[in-house]
Amino acid sequence: MWLNPQLIALLIAVVVAIIILAIGLTVVRLIWSKTMDLSMLLTEVTTDGTGQQQAKASLSRFQFLVFTFVVAGLYFVLSLESGYLIEVPNGTLVLLGISGVSYLGSKTISSGANPPPAQTSRQTTTSEPAAGTRTDNGGGNSNEPAGTGNGGQGGGSAKPANVGGSRNKVGSGNTGKGGKDGNQT
């Protein structure tokens, strides 16, 4: 009886399903308790008129989110109604493709305007004084990439992000001992 293939298949299916559902429920619980922070879900970093980087909501991200929910929701409802997985027509894929291309284009334009913090940090490091001159980075390892908590006493690497708003925290972590201008991602 215990070697019944159908029973074994059912048991495995139930176990796998429970694992997938547990992962989904964990994600939902983390979002609900705000441990998984979604506050930056729709934001992108832009440069304002003074050259500082600030975070603001992105319309292309919002569009991508809306179309994803619409298509995924409709697909799931209709699949559930039919009892099997249905096919997706080309028109719907074009709809998703337009928003995806727009999101990628927007991100390309934004990243072209705002060079990544790591590159900025490396440029600053290489332009520091020549050999023999002590560069005080407060004991922090200057070879560390930006965003890993290279905490110097105000020296060394560049400060890429000064984000407005109380909740908008972006950019690399330039924190540590004495580094009070640390930004969190």
């Binding site: 979604l38 832009t46 975070a55 909501a57 039919s82 927007s106």
Partner: protein
């Protein structure tokens, strides 16, 4: 027996996805997910860009229209309903054009920055 389990699982998955969507929607509504500056090209600008407003309206209209159309049509042949033929060209042209205009204005705005 597996078919019954599959149906129950589908319901459970629907509940999880619904909860996920509800969590995102609630955080959008209570302001946890930042929506400030959606219609502005930059946080220090005060004037709304009309093409952003156009794209926002088109997005909401297209999403709602397609969802309600899909629900009303169902999937009788095992295929999700396509965009209606009499609307397809106009809708895709409007969405594509709106997105192209938005990207062009964004590009020119970024290029004009110091």
């Amino acid at each position: 027996m597996i078919a019954d389990a599959s149906f129950i699982l589908s319901l459970a998955l629907l509940a999880v996805i619904g909860l996920l969507a509800a969590a995102v929607l609630l955080q959008l509504l209570d302001g946890t997910i930042e929506m400030r500056g959606l219609l502005l090209p930059s946080p220090d600008e005060t004037e709304v860009q009309p093409e952003r407003l156009l794209l926002l309206g088109l997005t909401i209209f297209a999403g709602l229209a397609y969802f309600s159309y899909g629900l009303s049509q169902g999937a009788p042949n095992g295929v999700m309903p396509d965009i209606p033929d009499d609307l397809r060209t106009e809708l895709l042209a409007a969405l594509g054009g709106g997105n192209a205009l938005y990207l062009f204005r964004k590009f020119t705005f970024v290029r004009g920055r110091p």
